[in-house]
C-alpha cells in the first residue's frame, strides 16, 4: 500500500522530531529535580501521547506498546499518583533510546532493534503502579466554578486545579476580549504573563462578551499572588476575579486601590502572597545602598572623634547612642538583604548530576554520585558562576580520577567508582568539595608531563605540593590523549581563575591510589566583605579577611633570605614574604634592622605568603566597587572601596599578588626596578 508507506515515512520524521523534543524535555525534568513544573510533565505526556496515537493508527505494534506503557506512567505522574524518582528518569531515558532503536529499525529493515521490549515494559509498569494517595474530598467545591467551565476541563486540568486549590493558591478567573485578527498573539502574551505569576490551568474561548466582533477568553489560573497583585500584573489587558468563595471582591480592588479598611486588606493579602520573584539587579541595588549607609556610619563615627564633639559630653553621649542604634539596625538590614540573595546549592546539584550521568555513560564507567549538603546556601550570583567550574572538576574526576573498571578490580577496589559533591558552611565561608575515590595524583606522573610540556626543566624536583601547583598552570593537562570529555580547551587554570574571581580559593588534597579532593572555599556573598585595612608607604589598602590567617609584628632583622627570596620562619614553616610597597612601586626606603613591620599571613588555596605592611589600621566591612579599565589589568588589585574617611582605598587581590610578586627578595626586585627605569 503506497498510501501506507508514505504515511510511515511521514511518521518516522515526525516521530524523530518528537523524540528529540522528548529528550530535551527529559533533561529539563531531571534538572528541575524535586521542583519539577507540572506543565513540563504534561508536555512530556502529550509528546508520548502523540507518538502512541500515530503508531497505533499505523499498526506499528512495538512502538505503540512501548509508548503506551510510557504514556500510562506519565499520565499517573501528571495526575500526582506517582513521583519523579531517579529510577523513573532512568527508565524514561532508556525508553527513549528504545524508541529511537525501533524507529531506526523502521527506516532500515536490515537493522534489528535488539530491544528487550518485555523487560522494559515490565519495569515501566512496576514504576507506574507505585501507589499514591487518592484524596476523597472534592476541593473544587471550595471555588465558584460554573458547570460549563468544569466540563471543559480535561481530567488532567481538573487535577491541576485541585492541586492548586489544595496547596492554598489563589484561583483566579482572568477574562479578556481580543480582536479576532490577532487574538492568538495577544492571548499568548497574556498567558505568558500569567505563567510568571503561577499556572494557567485552562483557557476557555467564548463569544465576544462585549457584543463586538472579537473573541473572549476566560483563563483559569492558580497563583501565589493576591488578586490585587494579579490585577497589577495584567493591567488593563484583562479583568481578574477570585473564584475562591468569600474572597475579596475584584470591583473593590480595581476601583479603589486604597482600601477602605487597611487592616483587613493587609491580612487578606498577606495570607495569599507568600513569595515574590525579584530581579537580582534590584537586590544588588539595595545592597549598594546598604554599602553606602555603612560608609555614612563610618563618617558618623569619625564625627564623634572630633575634639569639639568630645568636649561636649551630652552631645557625645547622644551621638554615640545614635551610632549604636544605627549600627544595630544596619547590621540587621544587611543580614536580611544577604539572606534574601541566598539560594541552596541544590539548584545546581541536579544540573551537575545529569552531566555526571551523561559523562559516565560516555566514558563507560560505573559511578555512584554522592551529593551532600544540598541545602547549604550561597549567594545566587555565585551559585550561577559556580556551575562551570564544578562541572569541569566533576568531568576531571570521572575522566582522570576514576580508573577504568578492569584496573579498579585488579587493585581490589569496588568496581563502581564514587564521586561526591559536598557543600558545607564554615564560619562566613562556604566550602564545596569535589572528591573521587580514584587513582590520586602521582607527582612523578605530573612531573613527566610537565617536563614534556616544557612547563618545568628536566631536572626540577616535583613533590606533591609542587605537583598540585602544576595542575593549575596554564597549558598543563594530564590527559595523555586529549579526550572529548576533559579536552575542552580549558584547564584547571581557568577553574582556579573563575573561583578567584569569586574571591574564593581552591586547593587539592590527594592520596595516591586512594583518591583526590578539590576543595573550594568561597565567601558566602560578594556583596559585602570583611577586610583588614593596612597601611604601607603612607597609603591605605584593604586585604579581604577571608584570605588572612593571622597577622603579627616583626622586626626587620627577622626577615631571612633564602635563594634570593625574602622569607619568614614561622613555627617551623618557611613563609615567602612580599612587600606591599614594592608590589605597587611605592617609595619605601627605610631598611634599618630594627624597623618594625607587620606581616599579614595570607592564604589562597595552597598558596601562602606573608604580606609586609607598616601598620594594621582596623577591620571593616567594605563594598568592593569595580575600578576603571586602566587599573583593571593591574596585578594585585581587585577593586576599590570607600572607607568612610572620604578616602578611596584599593582592595588587594591576594591571589594575583602572590602569583606576581610572591617571595621575591627585596634587593633583587629593587635591582630590577632601577634597571627597567
Amino acid at each position: 500500500m503506497s498510501e501506507d508507506s508514505s504515511a510511515r515515512h511521514e511518521f518516522t520524521s515526525e516521530a524523530e522530531e518528537i523524540l528529540e523534543t522528548l529528550s530535551r524535555d527529559l533533561m529539563k525534568l531531571e534538572a528541575e529535580g524535586r521542583e519539577v513544573r507540572p506543565e513540563l510533565i504534561n508536555k512530556l505526556f502529550r509528546e508520548v501521547h502523540s507518538l502512541k496515537g500515530l503508531a497505533g493508527m499505523l499498526e506499528l505494534d512495538e512502538i505503540s506498546e512501548l509508548s503506551h506503557a510510557l504514556e500510562d506512567m506519565l499520565d499517573r505522574l501528571r495526575m500526582g499518583k506517582i513521583e519523579v524518582t531517579s529510577q523513573l528518569t532512568d527508565v524514561l531515558y532508556e525508553s527513549l533510546e528504545g524508541l529511537n532503536l525501533l524507529i531506526l529499525a523502521m527506516r532500515d529493515s536490515s537493522l534489528e532493534s535488539g530491544l528487550d521490549l518485555a523487560g522494559l515494559k515490565l519495569r515501566i509498569h512496576q514504576l507506574s503502579t507505585a501507589t499514591g494517595g487518592d484524596s476523597e474530598a472534592d476541593p473544587i467545591a471550595e471555588i465558584e466554578l460554573d458547570e460549563q467551565t468544569r466540563r471543559s476541563l480535561t481530567e488532567y486540568e481538573e487535577h491541576r486545579l485541585e492541586e492548586n486549590i489544595r496547596s492554598g493558591k489563589q484561583i483566579a478567573s482572568v477574562e479578556a476580549t481580543f480582536d479576532f485578527s490577532d487574538f492568538d498573539e495577544k492571548l499568548r502574551e497574556l498567558t505568558a504573563l500569567l505563567a510568571e505569576a503561577g499556572e494557567v490551568i485552562s483557557t476557555l474561548p467564548a463569544m465576544d462578551s462585549s457584543g463586538g466582533s472579537g473573541i473572549s477568553f476566560r483563563l483559569l489560573c492558580g497563583t501565589s499572588l493576591g488578586i490585587a497583585a494579579l490585577v497589577d500584573l495584567v493591567g488593563d489587558k484583562a479583568s481578574v476575579r477570585s473564584l475562591r468563595r468569600g474572597a475579596e471582591t475584584p470591583q473593590a480592588l480595581e476601583v479603589s486601590p486604597v482600601p477602605e479598611s487597611p487592616v483587613d486588606e493587609e491580612v487578606s493579602l498577606r495570607s495569599l502572597s507568600r513569595t515574590v520573584r525579584v530581579d537580582i539587579a534590584r537586590l544588588d541595588h539595595v545592597m549598594n545602598v546598604v554599602g553606602e549607609l555603612i560608609i555614612e556610619k563610618s563618617r558618623l563615627e569619625s564625627l564623634s572623634k572630633l575634639p569639639e564633639v568630645r568636649l561636649n559630653r551630652p552631645l557625645l553621649q547622644e551621638l554615640n547612642k545614635v551610632i549604636r542604634n544605627f549600627d544595630r539596625k544596619l547590621a540587621e538590614l544587611q543580614r536580611s538583604v544577604i539572606e534574601t540573595r541566598m539560594v541552596p546549592v541544590e539548584q545546581i546539584y541536579s544540573k551537575l548530576s545529569r552531566t555526571v550521568r551523561k559523562v559516565a555513560r560516555e566514558l563507560d564507567k560505573e559511578i555512584d554520585l554522592v551529593l551532600k549538603g544540598e541545602d547549604t546556601e550561597l549567594d545566587k550570583m555565585m551559585v550561577e558562576e559556580l556551575t562551570d567550574p564544578l562541572m569541569h572538576l566533576l568531568r576531571n574526576a570521572l575522566d582522570h580520577g576514576i580508573e577504568p573498571l578492569e584496573q579498579r578490580v585488579a587493585l581490589g577496589k569496588a568496581s563502581k567508582g564514587t564521586v561526591s559533591l559536598d557543600a558545607y558552611q564554615k564560619g562566613s565561608s562556604v566550602v564545596i568539595e569535589v572528591s573521587d575515590d580514584g587513582r590520586g595524583i602521582d607527582p612523578e606522573r605530573i612531573r613527566a608531563v610537565a617536563i614534556r610540556r616544557g612547563v618545568i626543566g628536566a631536572n626540577d624536583p616535583v613533590d606533591s605540593a609542587r605537583a598540585h601547583e602544576l595542575l593549575f598552570t596554564p597549558g598543563f593537562s594530564t590527559a595523555t590523549s586529549v579526550s572529548e570529555i576533559s579536552g575542552r580547551g580549558v584547564g584547571l587554570d581557568v577553574v582556579r581563575r573563575n573561583i578567584e574571581d569569586l574571591k574564593g580559593s581552591i586547593e587539592v588534597l590527594s592520596t595516591i591510589g586512594r583518591g583526590t579532593t578539590f576543595r573550594i572555599t568561597l565567601p558566602i556573598t560578594l556583596a559585602i566583605i570583611q577586610a583588614l585595612l593596612v597601611r604601607s608607604a603612607g597609603e591605605t589598602f584593604a586585604i579581604p579577611l577571608i584570605t588572612v590567617t593571622e597577622s603579627l609584628r616583626i622586626e626587620r632583622r627577622e626577615i631571612a633570605t633564602v635563594e634570593q627570596r625574602e622569607v619568614l620562619l614561622l613555627r617551623d614553616k618557611t613563609i615567602p614574604l612580599l612587600r606591599l610597597a614594592d608590589a605597587f612601586n611605592l617609595a619605601d626606603d627605610d631598611d634599618s634592622e630594627d624597623r618594625r613591620l607587620y606581616v599579614v599571613v595570607s592564604r589562597v588555596g595552597d598558596r601562602v605568603a606573608g604580606i609586609l605592611v607598616d601598620e594594621l589600621v582596623r577591620q571593616q566591612e567594605i563594598v568592593i566597587k569595580s575600578i576603571g579599565q586602566r587599573l583593571k589589568s593591574t596585578a594585585g588589585i581587585a577593586g576599590a572601596t570607600e572607607t568612610g574617611d572620604r578616602e578611596i582605598v584599593l582592595v588587594v587581590d591576594v591571589a594575583s599578588l602572590i602569583d606576581h610578586f610572591g617571595g621575591r627578595a627585596r634587593d633583587a626586585r629593587r635591582h630590577r626596578h632601577s634597571a627597567s627605569a
Partner: protein, 126 residues
C-alpha cells in the same frame, strides 16, 4: 462539503485526511486542516463546515474547550462535532458528551470505523 479537522500532529492530520478523502462511501469531502485550537477558531468564520473533527489533547486550547465554545455559539452550535481521543479516557468522553459533542471516536480506529462515525455525524444534521 467541507469538514474541519483539528489535530496538532502533522502526520496524524495527513493520515486522517487521506483516510477520509479516499473513503468511497462519503464522497466529495474537502478537508480543511487546523493544527491547533487557535487555528480552528481563526478558520471557522471563513468556511461553511458540515462537520468538525477534533483531537482532545492539544496545546493552546484543548478539544473540550473548543467544543464548549462551539456549542455555546449561536451559529456554530449547529455544526456536528466528532471528538477523537485515545483509549482509557472515559471521563473525557463523558465530558465531551455533556458539552454537546455529537460523536466520539477512540484511537486507534480503522478506516471503516471512521467512515461509519462520519456518516452518523452527517446524518445528525440532515
Amino acid at each position: 462539503m467541507k469538514i474541519l479537522l483539528v489535530e496538532d500532529s502533522p502526520s496524524m492530520r495527513s493520515f486522517l485526511t487521506s483516510l477520509i478523502e479516499e473513503d468511497s462511501v462519503v464522497t466529495s469531502i474537502e478537508i480543511v486542516e487546523a493544527a491547533s485550537g487557535f487555528e480552528a477558531l481563526k478558520t471557522l468564520p471563513h468556511h461553511n463546515f458540515a462537520a468538525i473533527l477534533t483531537d482532545i489533547n492539544m496545546p493552546d486550547i484543548n478539544g473540550l474547550e473548543l467544543v464548549s465554545f462551539l456549542k455555546s455559539h449561536p451559529v456554530y452550535r449547529n455544526i456536528p462535532v466528532l471528538v477523537i481521543s485515545t483509549e482509557g479516557s472515559e471521563e473525557d468522553r463523558k465530558r465531551a458528551a455533556a458539552l454537546g459533542a455529537e460523536g466520539y471516536l477512540v484511537k486507534p480506529f480503522t478506516a471503516g470505523e471512521l467512515s461509519a462515525s462520519l456518516q452518523r455525524l452527517l446524518q445528525v444534521v440532515s
